[in-house]
């Protein structure tokens, strides 16, 4: 499927390309394919490509002539084949949903009239898609949360949410990669490191990958956490062929 794209000048060295304003797997796929085509076009003035839900930002070394570059990008987009297969990786992320970590699980259970077991099941059964990484280093924007678990952000954000906290905010869920203030409802904690400045790349997951949460007991959580600290833990993952 091809989309009606909008090209806008962002500043003299940046252009933003916009897809329809919604969160959609086909848009994500189209962005990934377009991005790959732009990279393979090999224009050395195109320095950096960054994407989010429905936009692709292109940053240039030297200032660009907007109209000419827009035409060049349109020509590249016309060569994107929607038939291209796009493989990704599914990552199995252990999460401990036990009371000690699940600060807001009881609150969600009451508000949604769902048992805690049902919430954990709904949260860990789904396969989530990584749309992009933003907000904090290593914070994955995930799509696919079960509608039954949607719950508004807290009206007053917590000043400190722990590293590894698994949380729900509106129709999104995610893991805090580092300690941070935040307004999402915390339902568990993952021992996995989502960002490591010493690794290249610093994140194991990338845009287009998939994530599944696997409930673990606190003793397993502790065991994995010490393996992660010793750099001996390997995250379970598998290739997903398109």
């Amino acid at each position: 499927m091809k989309f009606q794209l909008e090209y806008k000048s962002y500043h003299d060295r940046a252009i933003i390309v916009e897809w329809p304003s919604k969160i959609d797997k086909y848009i994500l796929r189209d962005i990934i394919l377009f991005k790959a085509k732009i990279i393979s076009d090999n224009d050395s003035n195109r320095q950096e490509l960054r994407s989010a839900y429905n936009s692709l930002l292109i940053i240039y070394k030297e200032s660009v002539h907007f109209k000419a570059e827009k035409e060049a990008l349109i020509a590249i987009y016309s060569r994107v084949s929607t038939e291209t297969s796009l493989n990704s990786r599914l990552w199995k992320i252990p999460v401990c949903y036990e009371e000690h970590f699940a600060l807001d699980l009881q609150y969600i259970s009451n508000a949604k009239e769902l048992s805690i077991e049902a919430i954990i099941k709904k949260h860990s059964e789904v396969v989530y898609t990584v749309y992009f990484i933003g907000f904090l280093p290593g914070f994955l924007y995930l799509g696919g949360l079960d509608e039954d678990l949607e719950i508004p952000r807290k009206s007053t954000p917590r000043l400190k949410i722990e590293k590894g906290a698994v949380a729900i905010g509106g129709n999104q869920t995610g893991v805090y990669p580092i300690e941070s203030p935040g307004g999402w409802n915390v339902i568990g904690n993952s021992p996995i490191q989502f960002f490591n400045a010493k690794n290249n790349p610093p994140c194991f997951a990338k845009t287009g990958d998939q994530i599944q949460f696997v409930p673990v007991k606190v003793n397993t959580y502790n065991k994995i956490k010490s393996q992660v600290e010793n750099n001996t833990y390997i995250i379970e993952s598998e290739m997903i062929y398109d």
Partner: protein
Amino acid sequence: MIKVLQSGFYSTIQDIGRFGYQDYGVPYSGVMDKQAATIANTLLGNHENNAVLEITMTGPKLKFECDTLICLSGASMNPQINKNYIPNNKIFNVKKDDVLSFGKLDSGFRCYLAVLGGFNVEMVMNSRSMYQNITQQSSIKKGDQLAIKNSTFNYKMHHSNLRVNTSYIDNLTLEVYRGPEFKYLSVSNQKKILSSRFTISKYNNRMAYQLEEVLANNLDSIITAPVLPGTIQLTPSGKLIILMKDCQTTGGYPRVLQLSESAIHSLAQKITGDKLQFKCL
């Protein structure tokens, strides 16, 4: 080495930034006023990307543990070597045991200290710019030993007579481009934003500058999208937030304007209560 005797208000080591990691959510960081840092580095014959000390509002007290050459640029903070005043934008030969200190802030907000060969602190993801959770240290502290090169040997005075224009520091008019969501503003807000005088609020730091004045806002939030240093966001409550070098990589507020690169340099020298206005390029 340079020993930190007193840390001052807030000083960090910065180069021009950490590029190529924004798709992992890593901010660019880097010097807020690149013009000042470049002047100081250039006068010394350094590379533009050599790391400098970015000094905010109140300067530190530093003791040199080797001979070197230094240059200061940006804000005027009455710098002194062993209590003798030295000017900005001039090379100064310091000796082992010399002490650099600062006085009252006279103009601007951020002063840059460049040393010959640059500060040689930890490099993380191709940059020495300090940032919490990326580098081990997020600002300099009393007692720190900052690594520098110990040599004045290769220095040639190529640029020592460079004429330096510092008028941008007091510039009140910031050049902007229309941002991706500018066209969705009401016509009256479009006019207002490009003709009003705004005031810098006390909420200003390396991440963002918030402005005091409120616009009657009719714009909804957007689906989370990329943002850049210099992007001006309009919040649902009508406040304008100008993102700076340590900003997040993505945001959900409408991006109404974008500062030019030189406007970012000027803004980096602004302090709480300063006035400014925008001029469309």
